[in-house]
């Protein structure tokens, strides 16, 4: 059996085809480049929405666009606090990774303290997510979009710390994972089988990243003390407490209705969570006034 060899004309054809494909692919911009400034997709959706004269006509799913559902002016405010004597935050031991100490010093960030239970001077509980869990069934939640909240949520790694430590994110929000430290971090989210190595300063964009509602833990494989929580919500009616423990959920529909409000905190075994509360909206106001959620620390 004779072996057929390549013929010169065949080689020439192969070279020309390869050259043509390479030139074509070099000219195409990647999806990422299209979304960055200067790319063809930059600002496309925003400019489309702005051009529309009917504020309710634009697709509610587009970030920054007016939603189809009309929203109201009702505001729910309140406080989340802790009773009992929770432990004070402790300084974390980062000596195993000396680059962290140097970076924090350079950025003027101070000592790295635990962020799990942070209580304000007046007993306010930081980093709680207060959200409406029931009562919005009559509204088309998909058309609410991210109304009132930014189109994207940014989670940053700075000084070997996730900033913010807890963040609420909607199912249709884009998540931007940033590394502000000029060394390796590894973002690991076991629940999503997600593992992203970030060896240097940079960012990664993840549209509609979180799908399952509730808390999802993020951790760093390189720096074992680093941890963050994403609390995934399905509607735009939520609020995160600061050091004072206060929250405000704004723009609830004006129509009369009853809603269930819940609070979530990453907590531990010793912290007893409060039960959900029902609130009533009547004549454009919350009849219960300011509400209070109380965590109890047993220990």
């Amino acid at each position: 059996m004779k072996v057929t060899r390549f013929s010169p004309p065949g080689v020439v054809v192969a070279v020309i085809l390869t050259a043509g494909l390479s030139v074509l692919s070099a000219g195409c911009e990647t999806k990422k480049q299209a979304k960055l400034a200067g790319g063809s997709e930059h600002g496309k959706k925003g400019s489309d929405a702005a051009a529309s004269s009917d504020p309710t006509a634009a697709a509610g799913d587009s970030p920054g666009a007016e939603p189809k559902e009309k929203f109201g002016t009702v505001s729910l405010s309140g406080l989340v606090k802790v009773t009992g004597t929770p432990p004070a935050p402790v300084k974390l031991d980062t000596s195993a990774k000396p680059e962290c100490g140097k970076q924090r010093q350079a950025l003027g960030l101070g000592e790295l303290m635990g962020e799990k239970i942070v209580v304000g001077a007046e007993g306010g509980f930081k980093d709680c997510i207060v959200f409406i869990s029931k009562g919005l069934g009559r509204y088309n939640l998909k058309d609410m979009g991210t109304y009132g909240h930014p189109a994207e949520v940014v989670i940053d790694q700075k000084g070997c710390q996730y900033v913010p430590h807890v963040f609420a994110v909607m199912q249709n929000q884009e998540v931007v994972i940033k590394n502000s430290d000029p060394y390796l971090h590894n973002v690991s989210i076991p629940a999503l089988s997600f593992n992203l190595s970030m060896p240097d300063v940079g960012e990664e964009r993840k549209p509609k990243f979180f799908k399952k509602t509730g808390p999802t833990a993020c951790q760093c494989s390189v720096h074992p003390w680093m941890g963050a929580y994403a609390f995934v919500v399905k509607n735009p009616f939520f609020s995160q407490t600061g050091i004072d423990g206060k929250f405000t959920i704004a723009k609830l529909p004006d129509a009369d209705g009853t809603y269930t409000v819940e609070v979530w905190h990453e907590r531990d075994r010793k912290l007893k969570a409060p039960a959900a509360q029902k609130i009533t909206v009547k004549d454009g106001a919350v009849t219960e006034g300011n509400i209070v959620f109380e965590f109890t620390y047993k220990g």
Partner: protein, 350 residues
């Protein structure tokens, strides 16, 4: 299949031409695809990144570092013994092979080699000689101050009045934690369900533990560091355990994986097998106080394996008291507590 050679009019064989064609195609692809490769996104640097972090430039180890443990020199002696035995055998065998390759290379008119059965006496001799050497190496390393039995089974005693420095070592993906017993001289019990990232990384039971029986020892005064500190000239006993990761909300747990405790300066290496805690011992030779060494993981345990290291410090008594916050000689534990694994904790909570 029979390959036939054909010569073209130009005088080159078709085999040569096809080979050249492949080279030309490959080069063309590489060169012309270069513009496509160069389209990498540059990282976006935030304005406030102020520091150029440079790792401390440790020189790579070109050879074994200084042996600081009492049995380290003996391990090195064994290394050199095996090195010379095998080195001489290697030189002789490879030298002969090289000689034969050249001496009996193909030459026109030379008779083709034919395969013979061999020489029984010769083969038995060199097999027995090899066996004898292996047995010799195996037997002489068993006993003595640096013998295998001494290193792997000669654990020092622990307890009140004993001069043994005792530490519990936990390995997780991807960090080492060193648990010192504290002033009460007892190791606090450990539960995965108590693990708190950063503040209680190994899950010591503290205060009112809330765990059901068996009896629980409070770990409030235990010291957990991410570096190993030991005194010189004293027996050090370590218990090694691999732990999984635990997240309280939402409740999830990852199984422990294989790690390996490796200290080049101690000449010591020991695997940590999930669900099978084990022990190690060593004694650092006097004259090493104030030195810093390294512990690394020597068994691939995941994507963070290469960064899984810890500092290992040899300190004098004053330095140790300052590091630990108590006098270790008055707080030598009687025993290690039982290791409770995650699946056993679930039964405890039922």
């Amino acid at each position: 299949m029979i390959l036939t050679r054909e010569k073209s009019v130009a005088g080159y064989s078709s085999g040569f031409r096809s080979g050249m064609s492949m080279v030309v195609v490959t080069l063309a692809v590489l060169v012309l695809a270069a513009p496509a490769w160069s389209q990498e996104e540059k990282p976006v640097a935030p304005a406030e990144t102020a520091v150029e972090v440079t790792q401390e430039a440790d020189l790579p180890l070109l050879w074994m570092p200084e042996a600081i443990s009492t049995y380290g020199d003996g391990v090195d002696w064994l290394f050199w013994l095996i090195f010379w035995i095998t080195g001489i055998a290697f030189v002789v065998v490879e030298g002969l092979m090289l000689y034969f390759l050249i001496r009996y290379r193909h030459r026109e008119g030379r008779e083709k080699a034919h395969y013979t059965h061999g020489n029984n006496r010769l083969e038995v001799s060199w097999t027995l000689a090899t066996v004898a050497i292996l047995v010799f190496i195996g037997v002489i390393q068993l006993w003595g101050e640096s013998g295998w039995l001494t290193i792997k089974d000669g654990y020092p005693e622990m307890g009140k009045g004993k001069e043994t420095f005792v530490v519990r070592v936990y390995a997780e993906q991807f960090a080492w934690y060193f648990n010192y017993p504290g002033k009460d001289g007892k190791f606090g019990d450990q539960r995965h369900s108590e693990i708190e990232k950063g503040t209680n990384p190994v899950g010591l039971l503290k205060g009112s533990p809330g765990a059901k029986p068996p009896v629980v020892t409070d770990g409030t005064d235990d010291k957990v560091l991410s570096r190993l500190v030991v005194p010189e000239g004293v027996n050090v006993l370590l218990q090694l355990t691999s732990i999984g990761k635990y997240i309280y909300e939402p409740r999830s747990y990852t199984h422990p994986v294989l790690h390996s405790f490796f200290s080049p300066h101690l000449r010591l290496k020991q695997d940590l097998v999930p669900y099978h805690p084990n022990q190690l011992w060593f004694r650092v030779k006097p004259g090493n106080a104030g030195e810093k060494f390294e512990i690394v993981c020597a068994e691939l345990c995941g994507e963070g394996h290469s960064g899984m290291r810890a500092d290992f410090l040899v300190l004098d008594e004053a330095g140790l008291a300052k590091e630990l916050g108590y006098d270790w000689r008055t707080a030598v534990p009687e025993n290690f507590p039982d290791v409770v694994h995650y699946y056993q904790e679930e039964k405890e909570e039922e």
